[in-house]
Symmetry: C2
Subunit: 208 residues, 2 copies
Amino acid sequence: MDIAFVLYDRFTALDLVGPYEALAAHPEVTPHFVAATRDVVRCDAGLPVQPTATFAELTRPDIVVVPGGSGWRPALDNTAVISWLAAVHPRTTWTTSVCTGSLLLAKAGILAGRRATTHWTLRETLAALGAEVATERVVFDEKVVTAAGVSAGIDMGLSLAAEMWGRETGEFIQLVMEYDPQPPMDCGSPEKADPAVVAAVRERVAAA
Amino acid sequence: MDIAFVLYDRFTALDLVGPYEALAAHPEVTPHFVAATRDVVRCDAGLPVQPTATFAELTRPDIVVVPGGSGWRPALDNTAVISWLAAVHPRTTWTTSVCTGSLLLAKAGILAGRRATTHWTLRETLAALGAEVATERVVFDEKVVTAAGVSAGIDMGLSLAAEMWGRETGEFIQLVMEYDPQPPMDCGSPEKADPAVVAAVRERVAAA
């Protein structure tokens, strides 16, 4: 099972690593880190990742995982990424995204008429690109699975693991990851956070 | 503020990326990905990371983050890593680890008589290396902060962000990360998981 983790300039590391950690260690899986070229790709907070394949080299992935990131806007105009997504999607088993990665799926025509989600600050942008916006943390619409912002990719990866390999394997992976979260504050969604903090995050995203 | 994220062969990506995502985007922070050489380092499930500095080049980090990983056992005998940890620790503001990263801190003499935690399968190993083992998800002992397995690094990173920069900044970062976890199953700790799954994970770790 070939999983393509899609890299582009200024993607968000945790968007990729959440599902990666849940899926990539399974013995059936070969993970690939795919970009336009083999040059190192930098995450939006600086982590440099070395691609293992180019889009031209990997044309039949079984699963595609598209992370979001601060670089989502230029990525929408990055023909190499968008045309590859459109080309490989018809033959995938699962096409997935985390956070603003769904905007790239939408741009590639994959979310037309589909229920999908994204980072909570960019739901209108996702709707404008033709998706039917859902606000759940993980959204399954047939073989297209989208997760909300950043850390939601962990929940998506574990859901997908349980769906593909059975509940017991999913539980095994979750226990290996010791995923029994204890967030230090209770402010991880706009409904729960202080309105001043919600406004500050919206402002930061709009400025970016 | 220079943060050193320590790389060694077969570290676990999420151990590093959890705290990285919580800390590295702050405007005061310069993240460094530090290894024995500048050669690409592979995570235990295959992700290749490009170091940005060698241990010889970064001698005064303000914060050190040591991830765990399947490669923890050879890392204990890796003099480059262990002696660097021992050398830089006296002048850090915070010395931290996630998962089996605490075993490396212990080997470097940093946890003698200190309360610390690790992945739930390796508490006896941590005790044998001289630490006073705690079972909380995130353990502060003065400037030494240790987190439990893999995903606990997210909770540690956010706790540290709130501690250093104030609660409102911590809330801002948690909301940007949309960290309102909804684990698909309730089995992320040995107390909550099915005993058969607990036994299977212990067996896998012992075999590794």
